[in-house]
Amino acid sequence: MLRIANLDVVALSTPGADAISAALAFCGLTGSTSDGVAFSVMVLGAVTCCYTFGVFRLAHRRGVTARDLRRIAAFLGGSAIVLAAMGPPLVAYGEQLFSMHMIQHMMLIIAAAPLIAWSRPKVMFLRALPKETRANIGRSARRLRLDRFMRPLRDPILVWIAFCAGFVFWHTPGPYALAMRYESLGLLEHITFLLTSLAFWMVIFRSSMRGGPGYGAKLLFVLTAAALTDLPGALMVFAPRPLYPEHAAGVAGWGLTLMQDQEIAGLVMWIPGGLAYLLVAAWLFVAWLREAENRAVLPGARSIANVTLLLLVAPALTGCNRSRAEPIANFNGDPERGATLIQKYGCGGCHDIPNINDAEGNVGPPLSRIGNRIYIAGMLRNTPDNMLLWIREPQRIVPGNAMPQMNIPEQDARDIVAYLYTLN
C-alpha cells in the first residue's frame, strides 16, 4: 500500500502501477516531463501535418470554402490548446496546484476536444491519402466489416458512459495521486480525457442525418453528462477536508491553503465547465428548432441513416453507377446533364446526394430517395413542378430558410430535378 502525505489514499498496489508505467515506457511514453512534452509535440505535429495535407488535397480538388477555413482554424486552435494544456508552464503549475491541474483538464475537455471534433479530422486525414489508398482502405474496411467495430465509438450511450467514467475515474483521489506520481500515468490520464471527449463531441457534432442522435437526444446527452461531470466538482467544493494532499507542498508557494485550492478546483469544474455545456445546450436547442424549420420530410430517415453510417467508404463509392437515370414522364429535363449541374452549382456543399462526387454536405437534408418523398421543404407536395419551384425560389417559399436563392435558369433546374427524380 502506498502512503502519501500520511493519508492512505491509494489502494492500488504499487506493482500494478509499475506494470502500467513499464508498459507505457515500452510504448515510448517514458516518464519525464520533457520527454512527455516532446512526445506530445511530436504526435501533435505529425497529426497537424497530416490534417493540413488533407486540406490541401481537398483545396486542390474543389477550392477552399470559408467553412473549410473555419475548420482548419478550429483544428489548429484545438491543437494549440492541447499543446498549451500539456506544455511546460501549465504542466509545472498543474503539479503545484490542483486548481491549475483542473484548468488543464477543462482546456482539454471543453476547449480543445470540441474544436478538433468540429474540424472533421477523420475526413481530412482520409483526404491526405492518395485516392487509390483511400479506395483500398474503404474496401478493406468493408471486408473487415470495420463498421461493426467502429459503431461503439459512435454509440451515444457507450460514448456517454466512457466519457463520464473516464472523467470520474481520474478525479478520484487514488488514480489522481498515481497520475501525479508517475508521469506516464499522467499522460495516460490526459490522453483518456482527450480521446473520450473527442468521441463525446463527435457525437454532438454528428448530424442526425448521418446516424447521429437527434437534437432532443443530444440535449439530454449533454445535460446529463454535464450533471455527472459537475458532480466531482461539487464534491470538491463541499468537502470539509483536503482530498488531494499531493499538492500540500505546491500550494504553499501560491499563498493558498489546500482547502482553498481544492475549492477553486471544484468551482473551475463546476461553473465554467457547466457554463460551457449550457452554451452547447443552448446552441443545440436553437439548432433543433432551425432544423425543424429547414428540414424536409423524411419518411425513410432511418434507413438513410444506416446507409450513411459507412462514412469511411463513402469516398470510395463515389463516381460509379449512374446508369439508372431515366427521364420522368411529362417533364422535360435531362438527368445526365442534371448530375453535372449539381456539381457545378455546388449542391453537394450542403446536401448529401448519392452518386455525385463530393456531395456529402451536412447542412441541408440528404437527398437519397428524394424521388419517393411525400413533401418538399416540409410543406410542398413532392411533384417535379414543385421541386422546380423550390430549387429556383426557395426563399419565396420559406422566407429565411437556409437554402440560398441561386438564380438557376429554368432549364438547368429542370435537369437537376430530372436527376433528383432518379433517386428512388
Binding site: W270, L278, M379, L380
Partner: protein, 645 residues
C-alpha cells in the same frame, strides 16, 4: 416501409361536427353516464377540470389559513394562536400553496389544454392520467387528515432537519408531511412522464417542433425538469422518514449530516420554483399575443429562455444556503451565477413588452391580469436579484423580505397568470364567457389587495422582521406595516371571492362563447366550445404556428388543412407522430374508461396509511393488491392492436 397485415392507410374525411362520423366518435369517446362512468373517466378534459377545481379548493384552504394567522400578526404580542398552532398553520399554508395548489393548477391547465393545442384526442396515457389525478387528490387529503388529527407539519414547508427529526419533533406531524410528499411525488413524476410522451409523440401532423405553441414548450420543459428533480425531494423525505421511524443516521449530527437535507431539498426546490412558474409564463406568452392581435415577439428566444431557465435552475440551489457556512470562494461564484439567471426571465419580459408595444391590445379582464402579472413579475424579479447577491442575502434571507419575494413570485407569476388564463380559457372549457364587469372588480381588488398586502413585507423585512415568528414585540417598527399587510390580504381575499362568484354566475348566465371568442390562432379554438369528447372530428394538419390566422398574417404560400383530415374512427384512435417533424408514423389505440386507476390510487393511499400507523399487514396486502392491479392494467390486450384480417 413494408406493409404488414397490421398496417392501414387512414381514410380522409371532411370536418363536420354534425355528421354521422361525429356521432360515432362521440359514442366511442364519451364518458359513460352515472357515478361509475364518472369515476372511471379517462377523458383529459374531465381530468383537467378536476385538477383545476381541486387545486383551487386547496388555494382557498391555504388562503384561509393565511387569513387566520394574518389576524395574529396584525398587531404585536397577539395570542389568538398558540405557537404550536401557528407553526402548523404557516407550514400547512406553505405546503398547500406550493405543493398542492401551484403546480397542480398548472397541471390541470396542461392536462386540459395540451391535447387540444397539439391537435390530438387525449393524453398519451389516459389511464395513467386518471391515476395521477387520484393520487394527487388523495395525497392532499392525506395531509389534511394530519391537520384534522392535530398532526399537521410544523417545520415550515422546507422542513429543515434536525428540527424535523424525531428528537425535536416527536409527533406524527412530520411523518404525515413526508409520506404525503412522497405520494404527491409519485403523482407529479408520472404526470410529467405523461406530458413528455404526449408532447413528443402526439402532435398534429405538420406541427414540427418549431411550430409547437409556447404553451407546450412550458409544459414540456418543466415535465422533463420534473423527471430529474422530483426524485431528489422524494428521496430526502424518504431518508427523513427512515431516520424518524427506523433509526437510520442520514441527518442526525454525530454521524449524519443535517446539511444533506438542505442539499437534497434545494436540488429539487430551486428547479421547483421554475416548475411552478414556467407553465404560467408560457400561458401568458400564449394568450397575451392573442389579446394584442399579433403573434408573440421572439418565439425562438422565448422558447430558449424557457428551457435555459429550467436548466440553470438545476445549478443554483446553493443560493438558498448562502448562510450555511459554505466556502467564500464558492459563494462568490454562486452569487454571480444566481444573478445571471435573471437574463432568461428578462428575455420573456421584453418579449411581452414588445408584444404589447407593437400590438393593438384589447382591454379585457384577461389582458388586465396579464398586465398586472408583468408588473408583479418585474417586482418579484428584482427582489430575487437582490437576494442573489450574497452579502445582501446574509441580511435578507429568512426575513419578511424573502416572504415578500416568494409571494411576488408565486402569487404574481403563478396566480395572476392563472387568473388571466382562467378568463381566457374559461369560454373554451364551458362555452360561456366569464362576466367582464365582475372581472374588472375581481382584477382591481386582487391587484390592489395583493400589492397593499405584500409590498410592505419588503419593508418589514428590511426593518429586520424574521419570517416564521408567531408574534413580535412592539417597538420594532413593524406594527403599522403589519396592520396594512393584514388589510391588504383581506382585500385580496375579497377579490378571490368575487372570482368564485363570477364563475358560478357565468356558468349559467355568461355570454355564449362560440368556438373562438377571442379570434385566437391555435388549434384548440378550431373545435366547438366546450370541445366534444373526441376533441377533433378529423385530425388537422399544420403549416404554421398560427393555423387560424394564416390568411390574415400572410404566412407564405402554404395553409394548414383544418377542413379535412383523418377521422380515425376504427376505435378510440389517435395519431402518433415523429418527435421532430410531427410526421404521422403510427395509429395508436387508446384504452377505454376504467376503474383500475382509481382502485390502484386507493390501494396506494391505503399503503401509505398503513405506513403511518405501521400496520405492516396492511402494507403487505396493499403491495399484493397493487401488483395484481398492475397485472390487470398491463395485460397485453388484443383490442389495443389491429386484428389480423
Amino acid at each position: 416501409m413494408t406493409t404488414t397485415e397490421l398496417d392501414r392507410v387512414p381514410e380522409v374525411a371532411p370536418r363536420d361536427y354534425g355528421s354521422p362520423l361525429a356521432s360515432k366518435l362521440e359514442h366511442l369517446w364519451a364518458t359513460k353516464p352515472g357515478i361509475v362512468g364518472w369515476l372511471g373517466s379517462v377523458d383529459h378534459k374531465e381530468i383537467g377540470l378536476r385538477y383545476i377545481v381541486t387545486a383551487f379548493v386547496f388555494l382557498l384552504v391555504g388562503g384561509l389559513e393565511a387569513l387566520v394567522f394574518r389576524i395574529q400578526l396584525a398587531w404585536p404580542n397577539q395570542h389568538l394562536l398558540s405557537p404550536a398552532q401557528y407553526d402548523q398553520l404557516f407550514s400547512m399554508h406553505g405546503a398547500t400553496m406550493i405543493l398542492w395548489y401551484a403546480f397542480p393548477v398548472l397541471t390541470g391547465f396542461s392536462v386540459y389544454l395540451q391535447p387540444l393545442v397539439l391537435g390530438t384526442r387525449d393524453m398519451a396515457m389516459p389511464r395513467l392520467n386518471a391515476f395521477t389525478y387520484w393520487v394527487y387528490l388523495f395525497s392532499g387529503l392525506y395531509l389534511y387528515v394530519g391537520l384534522a388529527l392535530g398532526s399537521a407539519p410544523n417545520a415550515g414547508w422546507f422542513n429543515y432537519v434536525p428540527y424535523a427529526s424525531r428528537p425535536y419533533n416527536p409527533g406524527l406531524n412530520i411523518d404525515f408531511y413526508a409520506l404525503a410528499n412522497i405520494l404527491l411525488g409519485i403523482s407529479t413524476t408520472l404526470g410529467s412522464l405523461n406530458f413528455v410522451v404526449t408532447i413528443l409523440h402526439q402532435r398534429a401532423p405538420g406541427m414540427s417542433i418549431n411550430r409547437m405553441p409556447i404553451l407546450s414548450w412550458g409544459t414540456l420543459t418543466i415535465s422533463v425538469g420534473n423527471l430529474f428533480a422530483m426524485p431528489s425531494v422524494t428521496l430526502a423525505f424518504f431518508f427523513l422518514w427512515l431516520d424518524r421511524q427506523f433509526g437510520t443516521h442520514f441527518y442526525d449530527p454525530p454521524s449524519g449530516q443535517p446539511l444533506l437535507w438542505q442539499h437534497l431539498f434545494w436540488m429539487w426546490g430551486h428547479p421547483w420554483v421554475y416548475v411552478i412558474v414556467l407553465p404560467a409564463l408560457s400561458m401568458v406568452s400564449e394568450a397575451l399575443p392573442v389579446l394584442c392581435r399579433r403573434p408573440l415577439v421572439g418565439y425562438t428566444a422565448v422558447a430558449l429562455a424557457t428551457v435555459l431557465t429550467m436548466v440553470l435552475g438545476f445549478g443554483v440551489w446553493l443560493h438558498h444556503m448562502f448562510a450555511t457556512g459554505l466556502p467564500n470562494i464558492a459563494l462568490a461564484f454562486f452569487s454571480a451565477v444566481s444573478l445571471f439567471i435573471v437574463i432568461p426571465s428578462a428575455v420573456s419580459n421584453f418579449a411581452w413588452l414588445a408584444t404589447i408595444w407593437t400590438g393593438r391590445p384589447v382591454f379585457n379582464t384577461a389582458f388586465l391580469f396579464f398586465v398586472g402579472f408583468i408588473v408583479v413579475f418585474v417586482i418579484g424579479g428584482v427582489s430575487g436579484f437582490m437576494t442573489g447577491s450574497v452579502p445582501a442575502d446574509w441580511q435578507l434571507t429568512d426575513t419578511y423580505f424573502v416572504v415578500a419575494h416568494i409571494h411576488y413570485v408565486l402569487i404574481g407569476w403563478n396566480l395572476f397568470a392563472v387568473m388571466g388564463a382562467s378568463y381566457f380559457w374559461f369560454p373554451k372549457m364551458f362555452g360561456r364567457m366569464l362576466d367582464e364587469h365582475l372581472g374588472r372588480w375581481n382584477f382591481w381588488l386582487m391587484f390592489i389587495g395583493f400589492n397593499v398586502g405584500f409590498f410592505p413585507m419588503h419593508i418589514t423585512g428590511l426593518l429586520g422582521m424574521p419570517r416564521r415568528v408567531y408574534t413580535y414585540p412592539d417597538g420594532m417598527g413593524w406594527d403599522t406595516l403589519n396592520l396594512i399587510i393584514t388589510i391588504g390580504s383581506y382585500v385580496m381575499a375579497a377579490g378571490m371571492l368575487l372570482f368564485i362568484v363570477n364563475v358560478f354566475y357565468s356558468l349559467r348566465r355568461g355570454v355564449v362563447a362560440g368556438p373562438n371568442p377571442w379570434d385566437a390562432a391555435t388549434l384548440e379554438w378550431s373545435t366547438p366550445s366546450p370541445p366534444p369528447p373526441y376533441n377533433f372530428v378529423v385530425i388537422p394538419t399544420l403549416a404554421s404556428r398560427t393555423p387560424l390566422w394564416e390568411d390574415r398574417l400572410d404566412e407564405g404560400p402554404y395553409r394548414s388543412e383544418l377542413n379535412e383530415g383523418m377521422p380515425l374512427d376504427h376505435g378510440k384512435e389517435v395519431l402518433g407522430t415523429s418527435s421532430l417533424d410531427a410526421q404521422p408514423n403510427v395509429i395508436l389505440r387508446m384504452p377505454e374508461d376504467s376503474l383500475v386507476p382509481l382502485f390502484f390510487a386507493l390501494v396506494l393511499t391505503l399503503l401509505f396509511a398503513g405506513l403511518i400507523v405501521k400496520f405492516w399487514w396492511l402494507v403487505v396486502t396493499c403491495i399484493g393488491a397493487g401488483l395484481l392491479l398492475q397485472l390487470i392494467w398491463l395485460w397485453p390486450r388484443s383490442e389495443l392492436r389491429e386484428r389480423r384480417p
